[in-house]
Symmetry: C2
Subunit: 366 residues, 2 copies
């Protein structure tokens, strides 16, 4: 431990450390400019009274850090910052999340913005402790990090901060850390979905969401409950179900949904699956039950009936997060900032006035 730290932060203990530190500062500050030659090894040796061997060790370290390059017969030069394509990493809980349409849409936005900025994007998992431990090791390989995992822990973030590595939270966030984040307003998304159903006359509302594990899922539930309370309704605990992101879970949950005329499902794919499961159980959407999805993925407009959903600007989320990270990389002193993107209700065919309610209230014909 002590040793490793010593040899890394060095800078004073050893002569080569001090030398490396000296040149590192001069390069970072801009005193030495890209492709400018450093003094030759023999010259430094004479000037500073150190052996050439020591100088070579310092130079070797700087070369490994990517700060300089050496050409036999010519000299040692400062590496141009842009000579290596800059790369940022998107860190997900599990690489399998790329599979989800939401993540796909986000990556589309990220890739687009980063491409325009001349950056490359790699995707890394961080669900396992080893992966996260490895992350700071990979730090040298990346110019910045997009943190898209709900399983990101404070220690890892603290390490990123300690090493002064730029990062931006995308979609997920750590509740008690006020740091760079580009987020979606899931409270508002839940509220919009619930208010739409309530506005149609639904008094019994059910919720299928991703559970209490992630902040955004909690936010969504909070939004639904807030809307219900505001209209004098209660979201009964037995009408709240945790499906995670699993299509299979939906199949198990649907049969246990009773006494509900409106169902809010936090994911379009799950919502479409739910509609099919309801159909299999003899219930037609929206005649017997209204269903509202969330995200407005492609499938929402392709399914039958077309899904009423809450559109979240996912691709825009990616774009803004990427822009924010690039700004941070190019100007590390930027103040921390949180951005919240707002959702929008998209009414299609999967929601309608509940039959009993409309009969009781309007007593309309048909």
């Amino acid at each position: 431990m002590t040793r490793e730290d010593g040899s890394k932060s060095a800078g004073q203990a050893t002569k080569h450390g001090a030398l490396a530190r000296r040149f590192r500062q001069r390069i970072r500050s801009g005193a030495l400019k890209p492709d400018q030659a450093l003094p030759s090894e023999p010259k430094i040796a004479r000037d500073l009274g150190v052996s050439r061997n020591t100088i070579r060790q310092a130079m070797r370290d700087l070369e490994h850090e990517g700060l300089i390059y050496r050409v036999q017969g010519k000299g040692t030069f400062v590496r141009a910052r842009g000579s290596v394509r800059r790369t940022v990493a998107l860190v997900l809980h599990d690489i399998a999340y790329t599979t989800h349409p939401f993540t796909s849409a986000m990556i589309r936005g990220l890739g687009e913005a980063l491409e325009n900025g001349g950056y490359s994007l790699d995707i890394l998992p961080c669900g396992r402790d080893e992966d996260r431990a490895n992350l700071s090791g990979l730090a040298k390989s990346y110019d910045g990090f997009l943190l898209g995992s709900a399983s990101m822990d404070k220690q890892t973030v603290a390490r990123l901060i300690a090493e002064e590595l730029p990062f931006v939270f995308v979609k997920n966030y750590l509740p008690d850390l006020k740091i760079n984040a580009v987020l979606l307003d899931y409270v508002q998304a839940g509220r919009l979905a619930a208010e739409h159903l309530i506005g149609l006359g639904n008094r019994q509302i059910g919720l299928i969401y991703a559970g209490e594990a992630t902040a955004i899922s909690r936010d969504f539930r909070l939004g639904v409950e807030t809307a219900c309370t505001a209209h004098g309704l209660t979201l009964a605990p037995e009408n709240i179900h945790d499906a995670g992101l699993s299509v299979n879970a939906i199949q198990e949950i649907i049969p246990s949904v009773h006494d509900v005329t409106g169902l809010i499902i936090m994911d379009d794919e799950l919502a479409v699956t739910a509609i099919q499961a309801l159909a299999a159980a003899g219930k037609t959407v929206p005649r017997d039950m209204s269903v509202v999805g969330c995200n407005d993925m492609l499938i929402a407009s392709m399914s039958s009936p077309k899904l009423t959903t809450v559109r979240l600007p996912v691709t825009e989320l990616g774009r803004q997060a990427a822009s924010r990270l690039m700004a941070l990389i190019e100007q590390p002193s930027l103040p921390s900032d949180n951005t919240m993107l707002e959702p929008e209700l998209v009414v299609r065919e999967s929601t309608a006035r509940p039959r009993k309610a409309s009969a009781q209230r309007g007593n309309r014909q048909g």
Copy 2:
């Protein structure tokens, strides 16, 4: 150029290179086991008659490669291979491809198999020359590579071979390289799609595919043409369209599709989009036109009408490719092998007998 190659592949030119090579082999072969101590620097110096300085340089290189670790006062030791979680990289043309449902399904299979094997998966882009150049630099970071990009070039592959890095082609391949690959039989996929339409009585068939740029797209067209020829039909050039993977391209292509009763589209999303575009132009599928997709993604069974398509075992492709790569990593001497996975026709609602044809032939009522 010459220099870089020299210093990298070294091994014979310089003494420290030869030394490093010597120990690299002994470690890789298992002659030196994890956490086993290497001979001490002075001992190697005496035994081999080289200076300690030279030995230290070789050890430095090995340490940077992660093969050994050194502890002052104790000695130099072989690093346990399993101490760092093994990681493989999926190399795609562009990170945006993760966005495509096909890639998602493949990643699902890859992730599943790798997870079971105790591996992590990173996703890297390689579309730009800089990215590919960087790839061999990243070689040290990864235990193997899954090559999923059609833009993979021979030089890059040659470099991987030269550095003895395990790799497996997934889905895409380089026509003249007989190397490890797990592939889908796109010739057969095209043939199945065409034969289904022909079997229904369609005589005028159109094809929308991803162009001539990639081997699999060419294979698909070949399959369609083969089936047509076998049944005495010709696939007219004006009925072959290149849409890439672009939903927008479909919108432009559909209006120019004439005199065709059956349309084969190499991607389900594009096929569903095409059906909507046809509807907008007043043509109903399958009454006025039969449409066959390819891949059997989720959307194929969710759309209306449900899409007849050719199911390709994409997730299985991922699983097998991952297994193959893990086997190669653990036993580099495995002989090269190609695996081809076969498609299957899934008939749903988007295909039917053409009206004219059925009228002409059966002259049925209605």
